[in-house]
């Protein structure tokens, strides 16, 4: 109305603020994104109303459909130290490069004797790695899972204490949590297989777990008629 019509030509729009915004968001997402390496196995955990988020500092045992056991440690210091202890016990040697590469692996399900070969494999080769039979969990002859848990647990607590001490001496806030043991398991797995893993833990006098579950969504029959109470 009061505005003058533009003098011919295509109407132009100043894109600059939009570019600013877009790049701001890109920067934000780039910096906050934490990339996950592909897990060696996909498991579909059952749903529950559990709302406890898994602590960052955890030792996780994953059990897939066929009962294969995969092991992962979140704390990198503990991971390297546990690997060293395992290497010593099972007389396998790792080069420093392999140790470094190992910290980047999310979880693994191979015998310690195959682990150097598994680490050296490229990401594509790993998915078809043979024999990926899971970490052996034979309490009598080959208690590798038990040793992994024991070493990882010890190292994770040590790393936690060290970080705590460091923070206290420098007077900083200390926010890290104590390591927790998590079990992630596919819904279709036979419970008896989970029981074996739980037995391994209880043998080590570990009784508290976080069982990973997906958030309750629609679809399950149990959703209907739930009492709504504020707990």
């Amino acid at each position: 109305m009061s505005k003058k019509p533009s003098k011919g030509g295509a109407p132009s729009l100043d894109m600059t603020p939009m570019v600013d915004l877009a790049f701001l968001l890109v920067t934000f997402f780039m910096l906050t994104a934490s990339f996950r390496m592909a897990e060696p196995v996909t498991v579909d955990p059952p749903s529950s109303i559990g709302k406890v988020t898994l602590p960052d500092n955890h030792i996780m045992v994953t059990i897939d459909n066929d009962g294969r056991v995969f092991f992962g440690i979140s704390n990198t210091t503990a991971k390297i130290n546990a690997l060293r202890s395992m290497a010593q016990k099972y007389k396998v040697s790792f080069t420093p490069e392999q140790e470094k590469k190992f910290t980047g692996l999310p979880s693994f399900g191979v015998d310690i004797k195959d682990l150097p070969r598994y680490i050296n494999a490229s990401e594509n080769e790993r998915s078809g790695f043979q024999p990926q039979k899971g970490v052996p969990n034979d309490s009598l002859n080959n208690p590798q899972l038990k040793d992994w848990i024991a070493f990882a647990g010890r190292e994770a607590v040590l790393a936690y204490n060290e970080a705590k001490e460091k923070a206290e001496t420098s007077g900083q806030d200390f926010k890290a949590e104590k390591p927790r043991y998590a079990i992630k398991c596919d819904g279709k797995t036979k419970y008896i297989l989970v029981k074996d893993v739980v037995k391994t833990f209880t043998d080590l006098k570990i009784y508290q777990f976080n069982l990973i579950t997906s958030l309750e969504g629609g679809g399950t029959v149990l959703d209907e008629g739930k009492p709504q109470n504020g707990l």
Binding site: D14, K188, V194, S214, L222, N229
Partner: protein, 211 residues
């Protein structure tokens, strides 16, 4: 900001004289926006925000004597088996009738709102009501945070309340165990435990399922 002064660009070929030609110096930003949003989309889709959720569970310390059977007063025992089937019995297990007590028989439930959920709702009514009453008081700020938590704990640990035992055979799936625990949690059950199935229980279960 985005305007770049162009000098020596095309457009003044005619004559050697420098002539300030009225020419737009704006750069088309659209491809840049395209690129930025492409990257944005990529990062939004690949970044993982949500940490996995979990359910905290404490397993019992195994008894020192392996033969020692835990005696549970007011117990409800769930037996889980294949094909998502779940059975239960109350009180102690009796393979044969003893005096006026008949032999234990299993009742079947299923994982639906009408069956298991209703069963739990009935069983745990008193405790749920007690907790709800506490809840209301807490909402109205008649109770302090710590008192509320302590009272809820006390209600849940009530001696006369039921203890729920979860036992599975070799064929039960992990999902069923989690579903059952979840149902107990939903119904605010304070005492439940996963333990090993005993031989007589297994026999009875097998007789029921015909397996």
């Amino acid at each position: 900001m985005a305007e770049i002064a162009e000098d020596g660009g095309g457009g003044h070929k005619k004559g050697g004289k420098k002539r300030a030609k009225k020419q737009s110096t704006k750069i088309d930003m659209t491809p840049m926006v395209d690129l930025a949003f492409l990257l944005l989309t990529f990062f939004v889709l690949t970044s993982t925000f949500s940490k996995p959720k979990s359910m905290e569970l404490t397993f019992p310390v195994p008894p020192k004597e392996p033969t020692e059977q835990t005696k549970v007063k007011n117990g409800v025992t769930f037996l889980l088996t294949k094909d998502d089937r779940v059975f239960y019995y109350e009180k102690e297990f009796r393979a044969k009738p003893e005096g006026e007590n008949a032999a234990t028989d299993l009742t079947e439930l299923n994982f639906s709102a009408e069956s298991l959920h209703k069963f739990m709702l009935d069983k745990n009514k008193a405790m749920q009501d007690a907790i709800k009453a506490l809840d209301e008081k807490f909402q109205k700020r008649q109770l302090a945070d710590t008192t509320y938590k302590r009272l809820v704990r006390e209600v849940k640990a009530d001696k006369n309340s039921y203890t729920y035992l979860i036992k599975t055979d070799d064929k039960a799936s992990y999902k069923n165990v989690i579903d059952l625990i979840d149902e107990l949690n939903i119904n605010l059950v304070g005492k439940y435990v996963i333990t090993d199935i005993t031989k007589p229980e297994l026999d009875l279960l097998n007789a029921k399922t015909g397996g």
